[in-house]
Assembly symmetry: C2
């Protein structure tokens, strides 16, 4: 671990983020353009996210399956909007063999004789390959709904990449469901948006605005795209999950028809929804501070770290007591790491776990042994207190809930303080450009206006919130009539 | 579900396997050459395998991480043996963009302007990309051992593919560890071989021979390759897992040096080990019968299925009792599916769950309600019995263990009955070609002899067993002296 301090958020938010991701052992850039290596500590947080989401998906009736990594080019072409949306960022497999280069000893070259008849695209998303498969699975309304999720890697060739936030390859889950009616599919779309909202707020500890995307921000091939939008500490928005109602677009493109209850052939209705390793970026940017990561207990790889403090003689006694603590805490379902390494000082360990965001640190020394006490330090508030060892389980258990709640509340208060309503374009620019806030403002509903505002201020419409209050107003740019405010922000 | 019978194993083993995989909803071929779709029921068995193995890896000190899907061609070239071994089956990414085809409306074409400077290989395995990363992670002996596993998809372009057994894309885990000493790395290699052995025998219910591969069958880049070999019902061998001691080959190729305790620079020692979705093929082929799949309780997505049998009037009463059963069984940790669909007859359901290999089926009808009984049917022995409802939990719990044990024993007895020692080439050919057996025979230790035997009989040396008894003998082909018998078989 480097002992150098992190850059400060206030000085260079972007450098702070990049350094934090690397120093806290979350991820690093690989030598493969745009692809990251997710390091063990970072991956263990992602595993927690996966387990939690997977459980929520199964509770709502979904099962997992696995579809091919490659999408034939002709499949991608079938849904026009979809093809246009993804064509420009596709990794294309053209050959299936290398051979020894006759001119350069020990080197390999592409074998021109092993050219594919049809190019294969490394999946940027799996609607095409999955709906081509569903054609064989769906004949009757009795085969519906089909509620399937896939955990997978996908590739979208990005020119500017940032660890977790935007990488050429990323990990995600993609749900793909098929339904007999439009109503059921729309309900599914909204149900999964709610699942994502619950996950973001209860596990990530991040409050989100949920809503519908304006037409020009829809997923390529969707009838409607819904999303959850989170505020980062620099005031920028991060789209933390999307859920799409795809109508019959993919069923038509891939000819997926079923016999309905009235014995008539009909195209199936589709949804798709996904979250990705981008959530790691959200988690980091929403809560962490200048000393390092701050993890919510619900997603921390270990919730408590125990550091024994000894001066030679009392080592074995102190470490024994720490082991007892570990056992007692594990017995009540708390995950614990005991760091009894002799090669590092307590001070070094304190800094390391602070950097890594472990929610609670216990420190136990010779005096604690005598007094029957233990020192408890919270990562989120950086406060310390000494408690009686008898209270260990109940105190730490309560603290987990308290920290989880506090982390959410802090993020919530920050967002409240940085979200405004404005009525003029002047106010709008002030809020977006100088204060980096979330802004609710009237918009005339046209793509043209949205694009113009984006060009001038970099702010985009993040969503039209669900259950949005209806009120008469005038578009901040054009002055044309509007019936509701939409959420604008600069975004990742 | 098709009501047609499966082909019989005795008539056409291969057709039986292919049909079973499809009809039991395990997997199907996709339209992408060589790539399969793993269907929900099949995937849920794979998930059970993953969870079990992942737990075993963590118990032995490993953590998960994630490395890029793509390997630059130049990385693959660095370890010569490795490059030669994989060059001929590589999917090669050459471009990163498609564009609209000006000559064909609505079609896409590769954008020639978006050619990669260096081709990227879709990983066939990750030694190269991982050891290139480890260079940055390993400086001192204090950084070792590095015990990392990855769950991932890999691609090896195969010309002849079969569901689960040999597919262009497959799912697997690959462990990649780095150590400060040769001894420690060899111990790790053997430890993971033992983990695989325990998994195969305790969870898959398949006895395995474990041993070392002869030199010509080693993994490309390995110093030593160890494996576990399982017998399928047609007498052929299936390699069910491999563990490689890689020596310093990859450390040298990627310049991964560390300062050892004596303060000298040294190359790190490596291992890698993996199992894949091939295990699904092993599981299916080892236990299943002409009626369908036979699943060991330890890996069955649901261990018990409950089928209510009613004649109109008593439906609600019967279903209520079934729900009570489900609850009682779940309370003792048994996974249960209750199939109370009105749209299918009990007979149809019986056939479906037989095909899908559910270990235990409970059937409850009006008479059972009156008598306080329930019918219990075992999938493995196809026996039925009626028990008192009071005994439900204890009886079914015991039955799970009994079935798991019986499935293993059956496979073990079959293997015993079909494994022979031979001393002449005539006997060898008789055993291999006519009886399709596992054969222990003397071999002179040369690749040439092994190749000749393979050409003439299709049998390969599966392994040189661990703790192999040493005995003087003569090579069955050349008559040259030999000190131990090795295991020959035809293989998948």
């Amino acid at each position: 671990m480097s002992t150098e301090k992190l850059p400060k958020r206030s000085a260079d938010y972007s450098a702070w983020y990049n350094e934090l991701v690397k120093r806290a052992d979350l991820a690093e850039n690989s030598e493969v353009r745009g692809c990251m290596v997710i390091k063990p500590y970072g991956y263990s947080i992602w595993e927690k996210m996966q387990q939690t989401l997977d459980h929520m998906f199964k509770e709502t009736g979904h099962t997992n399956a696995y579809f091919p990594l490659f999408v034939p080019k002709s499949f991608l072409e079938k849904e026009e909007g979809h093809a246009e949306g993804f064509a420009k960022e596709c990794a294309v497999v053209t050959h299936y063999r290398l051979k020894t280069d006759p001119d350069r000893k020990g080197k390999l070259m592409v074998d021109k004789d092993a050219k594919l008849e049809e190019e294969l695209i490394v999946r940027p998303t799996s609607e095409a390959i999955i709906w081509n498969t569903y054609r064989g699975w769906i004949q009757s309304y009795r085969d519906l709904p089909l509620l399937i999720n896939q955990w997978a890697n996908v590739v979208r060739w990005e020119m500017r990449t940032r660890l977790f936030l935007r990488t050429a390859e990323f990990l995600w889950q993609e749900g793909h469901t098929a339904h007999a009616t439009e109503q059921e599919a729309v309900e599914e779309t909204l149900q999964m948006l709610d699942v994502y909202t619950t996950f973001a707020e209860t596990f990530l500890g991040i409050p989100v605005f949920k809503g519908r995307k304006p037409a020009h921000e829809r997923f390529a091939g969707a009838v409607d795209t819904y999303c959850i939008e989170a505020m980062m500490q620099d005031g920028k928005a991060l789209q933390a999950g999307t859920s799409h109602y795809l109508g019959q677009n993919f069923a038509k493109a891939f000819d997926v028809k079923f016999t309905n209850k009235e014995n008539k052939l009909e195209y199936a209705y589709a949804t798709s929804w996904g979250v990705s390793t981008r959530l790691m970026g959200a988690l980091i940017m929403a809560h962490s501070d200048d000393e390092g990561l701050v993890l919510p207990p619900n997603l921390a790889p270990f919730q408590v770290v125990i550091v024994p403090i000894y001066k030679g003689d009392d080592r074995s006694e102190v470490v024994e007591k720490c082991k007892e603590f570990r056992k007692r805490l594990q017995a009540v379902g708390i995950s614990v790491k005991l760091d009894d390494r002799d090669t590092h000082t307590p001070g070094f360990k304190f800094a390391e776990y602070e950097l890594k965001g472990v929610p609670v640190r216990l420190a136990l020394g010779g005096r604690d042994l005598k007094n029957g006490t233990v020192e408890v330090a919270r990562r989120d508030t950086k406060t310390k207190t000494s408690i009686s060892q008898d209270l260990l389980e109940s105190y730490v258990k309560d603290l987990m809930e308290e920290i989880q709640k506090n982390i959410f509340q802090k993020a919530y208060d920050f967002r409240q303080a940085n979200t405004v309503k404005v009525d003029t374009y002047e106010e709008f620019k002030e809020a977006i450009e100088n204060k980096s806030q979330f802004v609710f403002a009237h918009w005339d509903g046209t793509t043209e206006t949205a694009e113009k505002i984006k060009d001038e201020t970099k702010a985009t419409i993040r969503c039209i919130p669900m259950n949005n209050p209806q009120e008469e107003g005038k578009c901040i740019l054009t002055g044309k009539p509007s019936k509701e405010r939409v959420l604008f922000a600069k975004a990742y």
